[in-house]
Amino acid sequence: MACRTCLWLLGTAFFTCTVRLVVEGTEVGAPQGSHPEPGVVGSNHSQAGGGHGSSISGIQIVTFKWHHVEAPYLIALWILVAGVSKMVVELNHSLTSVIPESALLILIGWILGGIIYGAGKMQTFTLTPTVFFFYLLPQVILDAGYFMPNKLFFSNMGAILVYAVIGTCWNAATVGLGLWGCWLGGAMGDIDIGLLQFLLFGSLIAAVDPVAVIAVFEEVHVNEVLFIMVFGESLLNDGVTVVLFNVFDAFVSLGGAEIDAVEIIKGIISFFVVAFGGSLVGIIFALLISLLTRCTKNIQIIEPGFIFILGYLSYLTAEMLSLSAILSIVFCGICCQKYINANMDECSVTTVRYVMKVFANGSETIIFVFLGISAIDPAIWVWNTGFILLTLLFIFVFRFIGVFLLTWILNKYRLVPLEFIDQVVMSYGGLRGAVAYGLVAMLDENKFKEKNLMVSTTLIVVYFTVMLQGITMKPLVTWLKVKRAAVTELTLAEKIQNRTFDHMLVAIEDISGQIGHNYMRDKWHNFEERWLCWLLMKPSARKSRDYIFNIFHQLNLKDAMSYVKEGERRGSLAFVRNETKADVDFNKKFRASFSEIMPDIMADNMGPDHVPLSSILQDIVPSVCLDMHEQDLEMRESEDFNAHHLLQQHLYRGRKQHRHRYSRSHLETNKDENEVQEIFQRTMRSRLESFKSAKMGVAPAKKIQTKHQKKDKPQKMPNGNSTDKSKNHPYGDKDLEFSEGDCGSGGEAAGDLFPMRAYGVEAGIVNPAFMAEMDPMDNMQQMQQIPHVALLPQTLNSFDP
């Protein structure tokens, strides 16, 4: 492994050097007409006169036209090098779990930079602000916006804004003033710098960087609220950073004397203009994209392209209007995601998601590699111990103070307070990155005499935060968590109860309506349903959006599938005659085969287009007889460990604990959605049961439960619903079979009654229409069961969410 790594690395470096030398070689060597105009290579032209032809001695079969391709070639080469570096980094997974990828990429950047510098004695490839801000950053931010968990983001918006705006201002002010104070005190020696320059430096170094944050939090899994706080802050603070940067830049140009109250007020106003203006531009472009995707049905093949182009345009437009470009592209991504996902074809959506990740990943890799390379440039090395060390100290300390202060204030207003460990992680996770470097590289040397000092300091700060803090973040979190968990080893009862409490709290919050907060959300929801969806979504997309309808559609499908499955097994559909027997046999016969069958069918494959019905049917043939005995043995092995382990694995996580995994490199379907679906289906099913049993005057829950225990143990199945079906086959429950008649009578009668009964404990009221078609042992029972379930969506639609 190590050999391969080294080999790759050396190979790449060598290749680059060779190219470089060749480049230099051809430059140094006299231009020998190696690039005449494309057409003119024949000797027959040389006679036509003109001195140009005289240097060509004959037809050149192969010419080395380096300058012809220089620019694109180098670009492509560097992208390749970055990609190969990433490959090298990822070779050893245990390494990347200790040291974050970004740190390793910077390391490689150093090595490459060193090689290039050594070869050419000067650093020609650095991360220039133009390249960074125009070509590398937009994709990363678009990716962040497009995959942003909107609900989470907007519900924590207040806190995020507080951190982004006030936190960044605090950081900027304290760092700037702190450094200024120390300079006055003489800690930095003699440098040509002033208060305003310090403040400017403070403002550009204060901003938490989204690229770096993602890169590190990828390895450290934190809870979703914490994640969204840091992430959201890193994205939104651009508004502040841009304003502060421009304002102080202008102030420095004006000179200290010209600053008066008017200018300061103008500065504050510009903040609002920049921030809101930028967001507005983003939202406008999001609208454009959504409208566009509404009409692109006939050109589905290039649909994805629009997203990227318009996203990029939103960035550039905001930049053109001197508004916050990052805010613009973030809001563009955030606002359009829902509509374009609904409007576009499945394949297009996948393409967009994937390409987005490719671009973002690629950009990030290039950014970090170049951050490393840019350091190896003696031209910018200026060392001032005081300045550098003090900067490091201040950003670290003031970040902690700022976060703790703001959190203390926020916790008074928050529903769920941020805990100590969260605050520590937030403070520690305030990484600086390429944005700071880009900004500092944009400074004008003439105005800022100490530009190189600032650049070096910025680079050192970036390295420090990304590498040191990145590496130590995980151990820190583990230590803090372990420290807290070690105090009490939870008993089973406590674990179960804790989870019960979580669910309980969520339920009570829902019942009591999260007063006040929900009003706005409801209003927004209504507005969105009425106007936006009508405007921005294709009609077909609008229809399939109904969540409940989807769930029941899936329920129906599952029912249908299990019905067909059973039918296939039996060879005919005649088995329905004898329910109870079918039930028991179901269990016995399937016991051996089920455990093997289901693993392949994932819960999220249950969408209408994805149901691999054929695969299910194939799988029914029991290919292998399982080692049921072995399974049993394993289970009895260590019961204690097992019980805790089982709880750990299989308890439903409450809503609060759903971890959202935003990842730069993984495109995962949200597993939590499956969990929610499963719970929803079970609840609906049990309500269905209780409704039916209530109709028949039978006590609901107990009856079903005893059925659970009486029956043979169902098998381990990831896709639980089929087994569930066999258990709950009210198909098997003689008492409930009358109710099958109701489906036949059609929707209206049922529809009328359902609003009253969807969750009903009333007994005794019988609709004559239901009783009309009492045909218990009807073949059609099974078939009716399915539309029966399908009836519910209509009625539940009438309930408001």
Partner: protein
């Protein structure tokens, strides 16, 4: 303020309610608004299906149990007073309450909260959580792929840990004892109901 007072006047016995539950007038008003929002047919009483209309509850594994907790045994409706009383369980405890043995236990004390939690398990209200009841809860809170055997082993071990008098059921005292290290106030409180 005007609307608060006018809404308050609509509620009978509101003083007594506030005294009993410790909610402020503002809270009572907000809860009343919520009550009315849920009560679509404007009957002044809530039925199970009104709760069922809250879609998000259906995505909660113990959602239906919680709904059941609002209804006293035999009752099919819940009026505003009972609604508020149940919700009062989730108020964060008042830190500075003098321990007055003559006064009845406040609704949001640790004991009351625990009692509420206990009743979620104990559906037949016999004062004990039997093995079957525990299995029911476990079944609803665990993913479908957990087999019956696994469920039963978890239930057995849980009872083993908590059952001190070896009657194969968990009484309220045993329940309380098993949770003595848990910060119930933190786990069973909703801040906005303060």
């Amino acid at each position: 303020m005007g609307t608060t007072n006018s809404t308050l006047s609509k509620i009978p016995n509101v003083e007594e309610l506030m005294q009993e539950t410790g909610f402020t007038p503002a809270h009572i008003v907000r809860l009343y608004d919520r009550f009315e929002a849920l009560d679509k047919e404007k009957t002044g009483l809530l039925r199970p299906q009104d709760f069922g209309a809250i879609n998000r509850l259906a995505m909660n594994p113990i959602g239906d149990r919680i709904i059941g907790a609002f209804f006293s045994p035999g009752q099919e409706t819940v009026d505003f007073h009972s609604f508020v009383r149940i919700l009062a369980h989730f108020r964060p405890a008042d830190k500075k309450r003098p321990k007055d043995p003559s006064m009845p236990e406040p609704v949001n004390s640790r004991t009351s909260k625990l009692k509420f939690a206990f009743q979620l398990y104990d559906q037949d209200k016999d004062g004990k959580i039997s093995r079957a009841e525990l299995l029911q809860v476990l079944r609803s809170m665990l993913e479908m792929q957990v087999t019956e055997e696994q469920l039963e082993s978890i239930a057995d071990r849980t009872i083993q840990e908590a059952d001190l008098d070896k009657d194969d059921a968990i009484s309220f005292e045993e329940f309380r004892k098993s949770l003595e290290k848990v910060n119930i106030d933190h786990k069973m409180s909703i801040r906005f109901l303060r």
